[in-house]
Symmetry: C2
Subunit: 256 residues, 2 copies
DNA sequence: TAAAGCTATCCGATGCTATCGGACAGCGCT
DNA sequence: AGCGCTGTCCGATAGCATCGGATAGCTTTA
């Protein structure tokens, strides 16, 4: 008999607990019946999970409807604060957004996903706000591609196989060979662009932060509406600002 | 036979998962053996929990040492952002800290604990930083007492029984009768003070936000070193600022 | 006022599955 | 080269998560 799918084995109750947590994350709040209906779980099962989370202090019960509590907020904030790289990078990302007036990001690879570690808004920035911790496929974001370009081919392959390359926006790269040539040109140019590959109408410009050993720590990005960033002269000033930021971060990393 | 202790019944595996999560929250990172040793759990059990959390994307494995991932950060940030009361209150707390130069807080009651929903620092503020989501006993903080003063006696009793009143700092109230007279005077004065009851050397001044039905939504607080706030004239200006903030919040709540 | 149709919560039996000890392989240190 | 540590995997046991049903409390509707 074939081995069980590793994604479905192990600690099923823990898995359903997080299914419930993620449901409440999406829906903000919910009753036992609602959760039970949407997740197709028996009411009594849902209830016992909710009761446990409530006892642990992670869940609040307002007259029959449950919502996630501030204990999770504290958990997340603690993780953020104890992340050294974020501490180093944050001020630079803040000023980058301030100087350019656009959105600025710093992202790292985590579990094969491009993960926003620091996010900042400029005065002209588009309204869609990505929260810290937001994750996206590496293959469809500029930060992701900038990082991928400096990972080993085996690791890139592993990530692509794990998360696939489905179309997310008009220009998403969905072909593996196309991705590899794109990564090659990113490597030589030292800069990655995303033109409506993750979200329609958004242009992203990203450069990697490389360690002394050549391994990528993460990537700095500026994102804005494709129309405004269409002007080549403006785009060049943005690239300049990104280079300054990258330089600053690399210095701060070596001084650590 | 007596009923089982509700704190130890139900979903044991979920409970141990969160034990591990909270260990990693404290220690930033840890190996299987470390966690196994500190929590007195078999290595294989710890491993299967870690593997599950890793599969779910909440945990990152850096060469054998595990740490909590940015998925928890995103979870916490999402909860914060979808909390309406926090959205209303935050700007006021920010300006309160700015105007006074001290630390400013807004806290609510959650699971019987005073829970910081919004925190802000002024330029003179003490360095110890409370993160959003931080929780403390209601009986030892000014925000907690301000809220308790407007809850039903039964609810107060329930909370006190659940969390107890152990000494936390030199002046912590540890006697129930003393607490009740204190709450009575807070109710008539409309203001609560904490004088080194939670943390030595810190003075807290708090006022509740009350709904139309008289039930408390939360409390606004300013905290600072007892020495600086010892000056009565200065303290009065702070109380004035808090009153302004409370008024602003109550207006914004009624306009909702 | 009464009763129907919700709801959340509780209970008890079944059999799945979390647990646990042990075995293995890989690594860095001595 | 060998020792001692590590993380990971396996398999058997029984503990416990699951599930259906029963109950009680609430709001709505007649």
């Amino acid at each position: 008999m074939a081995r069980q799918d590793p994604a479905t084995t192990q600690l099923k109750s823990v898995r359903t607990t997080f299914k419930i947590v993620e449901f409440l994350k999406r829906e903000t709040a919910g009753s036992v019946s609602e959760i039970s209906a949407h997740l197709e779980l028996p009411k009594s099962t849902v209830h016992s999970h909710l009761a446990t989370l409530n006892q642990l202090g992670y869940l609040v019960n307002d007259d029959g409807t449950y919502r996630l509590g501030y204990r999770f907020v504290h958990l997340g904030r603690t993780i953020e604060q104890s992340h050294e790289l974020r501490q180093i990078v944050s001020p630079t990302i803040e000023t980058l957004a301030e100087e350019t007036g656009e959105q600025a990001y710093f992202a790292v690879e985590e579990n094969g996903l491009a993960t926003n570690v620091a996010v900042a808004e400029g005065e002209n920035s588009i309204r869609r706000r990505f929260l810290p911790g937001g994750q996206a496929r590496m293959t469809s974001t500029a930060t992701g591609k900038a990082i991928l370009a400096h990972l080993s081919p085996e690791r890139v392959d592993e990530i692509v196989r794990r998360w696939g390359m489905p179309p997310e926006a008009p220009n998403t790269i969905t072909d593996e060979d196309e991705l590899y040539t794109e990564l090659e040109s990113i490597r030589t140019a030292g800069i990655a662009y995303g033109r409506g590959e993750s979200i329609k109408g958004v242009l992203e410009i990203a450069m990697p932060i490389l360690g002394d050993d050549g391994r990528p720590h993460g990537a700095v990005e500026i994102a804005g509406p494709i129309k405004r960033l269409d002007d080549e002269a403006y785009r060049e000033t943005l690239v300049d600002e990104i280079e300054t930021a990258v330089n600053e971060i690399e210095v701060n990393l070596s001084l650590r």
